[in-house]
Symmetry: C2
Subunit: 110 residues, 2 copies
DNA sequence: CCGATACTCAACCAAACGGTTTATAAACCT
DNA sequence: AGGTTTATAAACCGTTTGGTTGAGTATCGG
C-alpha cells in the first residue's frame, strides 16, 4: 500500500473518515469539532486525520491551540480520472452518474 | 467496513486488484490468465478476485473448467457520485478531470 | 478410469488497522 | 506560575489483510 492511489482509496475505505470529509466539505474545522459526532476518543480521530493527511485529502494548519483541518480535493480528481478509464462511453457514464447522484441527494452517509 | 462504499474503496485500495480490473477492462478473462502477470500464487489471485466479487466489481461465470471474470462498473458509479459531492463547481471539476486524464494517458498503473 | 488442468478451501503467519489507555506538548487564561 | 483546553505520541490489543502451503473439487482429454 505505498502508491498514491492506494493510499487515497484506503483512506476513503472507512465510514468515519468519509464522514469527516463530508463535514469538511462545509468548511474547515478543528479536531475537537470533527471528533464531536463520533463515539470515539479524540486520539482515534487524530489517527484518522493522520491517515487522511498522509493521503493528501486534508491539510492542517495551526490557529492558536486549534489545528483546523481543510478538505483537499486533488486526490479525488486522481480517483475520478482512474475510474474514468473503465467506462466504455462517457455519455453512458454521465447518465449513470446522474442517476446515482439523484439517489444520493437524500442520503447523508459519510 | 460493512457498507457498500467501504467495500468498494477497500477493494480498490490494492495495486494488484486495480491491475486485475485494468486487464478486465479489455474484456473477460479466466483466473489463470489474470494471475499470469503477477509474481504470486493462483490462490492469492483467487482471494483478490473474491474481494473484487464481494465488492460487486466483477462477476464470475463458468465455462467448462474455466471461471471467466467480467468487469462490473456499477460500484464505480457510486464512487464517482460520492466524490462528486466534494466539488464546489462541476465546471471546475471537469477541468481538473481533463488535466488528470491527460496526465494519466501515458501511464500504465493498475 | 486416469491424469492433467483450472480453481477453491482451510489453516497458518507476519504485518497493518482501528481502537484503547497513558503520557506529553503547546497554547490559552487567570 | 499554575491549571485548563486542544491535540498528538507511544505502547498495547484484538481483528483484518495479504500472502503462503497443502489438500480438495471439477472439468477436460486420452
Amino acid at each position: 500500500m505505498d502508491d498514491e492511489l492506494s493510499r487515497t482509496f484506503a483512506a476513503l475505505a472507512d465510514p468515519t473518515r468519509r464522514a469527516i470529509l463530508a463535514r469538511l466539505a462545509d468548511g474547515p474545522a478543528p479536531v475537537n469539532e470533527l471528533a464531536q459526532p463520533f463515539d470515539m476518543t479524540p486520539q482515534a480521530i487524530s489517527k484518522h486525520l493522520k491517515v487522511l493527511e498522509s493521503a493528501g485529502l486534508i491539510s492542517r494548519s495551526r490557529q492558536g491551540q486549534w489545528r483546523p483541518c481543510r478538505l483537499e480535493v486533488a486526490p479525488l480528481d486522481a480517483v475520478t480520472a482512474w475510474i474514468a478509464r473503465y467506462r466504455a462511453a462517457w455519455a453512458d457514464s454521465f447518465d449513470r452518474l446522474e442517476a446515482e447522484i439523484k439517489k444520493m441527494r437524500h442520503k447523508e452517509d459519510g
